[in-house]
């Protein structure tokens, strides 16, 4: 389901607002995932605090959001943009790719929460497709 020109426009437009709040949005998305989907905590057993307020969650949430901003800035070559991260997730982190869907969901929740007027059904659709592409690119190097 490739991104249409309209999809790319929608993603870039909402991301222009989101990228400025990378740490807060990233912490929210990551913290909410850990809270609502406890299976995902298994990848963060080395964290002392898994709440949205946690310093560790903030640092890591920002990393995630900054990587997504990178993908938005290279929206015509998401595979290329995600290549190094894919290698990392495949061989070092070994996160089961099924979890990408879960974080994608909480990212959408957070976008809706912070930007309700901008997160129209069409923008929601575009972001859902974008995150699916990012997830796919992230899983490319696994096997």
């Amino acid at each position: 389901m490739p991104l249409t020109d309209a999809d790319k426009k929608h993603v870039k437009s909402i991301w222009s607002k989101a990228s400025g709040k990378a740490e807060e949005l990233g912490a929210q998305a990551l913290g909410r995932m850990l809270d609502a989907f406890p299976n995902t905590k298994t990848y963060f057993s080395h964290y002392s605090d898994l709440s949205v307020e946690s310093g560790q969650v903030h640092v890591h949430g920002k990393k995630i959001f900054d990587a997504l901003t990178d993908a938005v800035n290279h929206i015509n070559d998401i595979t290329g943009a995600m290549s190094a991260l894919s290698t990392k997730h495949a061989h070092t982190l070994r996160v089961d790719p099924a979890n990408f869907k879960i974080l994608s969901h909480t990212i959408l929740v957070v976008l809706a929460l912070y930007f309700p007027a901008d997160f129209t059904p069409e923008v929601h659709l575009a972001c859902d497709k974008f995150l699916a592409e990012v997830s796919y690119a992230l899983a490319e190097k696994y096997r």
Partner: protein, 147 residues
């Protein structure tokens, strides 16, 4: 039987008290039809679903959204026995409507997103977690009579 903590019950009922059932039902269903357009396969009698504007303005979508949320209210009233409460509804979806249960998951996720848009920061992580659990329970109950 599902174990609900007092906090979870409180999170669910306090959010539910603030929801305009018709409005949220409409938002959630309209979003599903836009974001996952293949779901329109179940609504061939609804008339014009050709674009997001048509879907948003479609009175049948609005009416059906309310129906779905009213049914959710039923589950919330019977949190300790959602399975039994939904037995007939599950059978209906399986034997008459032939709805792929994957759609229950999609609607559940979309409803959560609609709630986030409505409530903003008031839709805290803990409240979201309780609602995610509710959506999982509802999905399981609706899927239970499939064979």
């Amino acid at each position: 039987m599902v174990h609900w903590t007092d906090e979870e019950r409180q999170a669910i009922s306090s959010t539910w008290a603030e929801i305009n059932v018709e409005e949220v039902g409409h938002q959630a269903l309209a979003r599903v039809l836009v974001v996952y357009p293949w779901t329109q396969r179940y609504f061939s009698t609804f008339g014009n679903l050709s674009n997001a504007t048509a879907i948003a303005g479609n009175p049948k979508v609005r009416a059906h959204g309310k129906r779905v949320l009213d049914a959710l209210g039923d589950a919330i009233t019977h949190l300790d026995n959602v399975s039994a409460t939904y037995a007939k509804l599950s059978q209906l979806h399986s034997e008459k409507l032939h709805v792929d249960p994957e759609n229950f998951r999609l609607l559940g996720e979309t409803l959560i997103i609609s709630l986030a848009a409505q409530f903003g920061a008031a839709f805290t992580p803990d409240i979201q977690a309780a609602w995610q659990k509710l959506m999982a329970v509802v999905t399981a109950a609706l899927s239970k009579q499939y064979y």
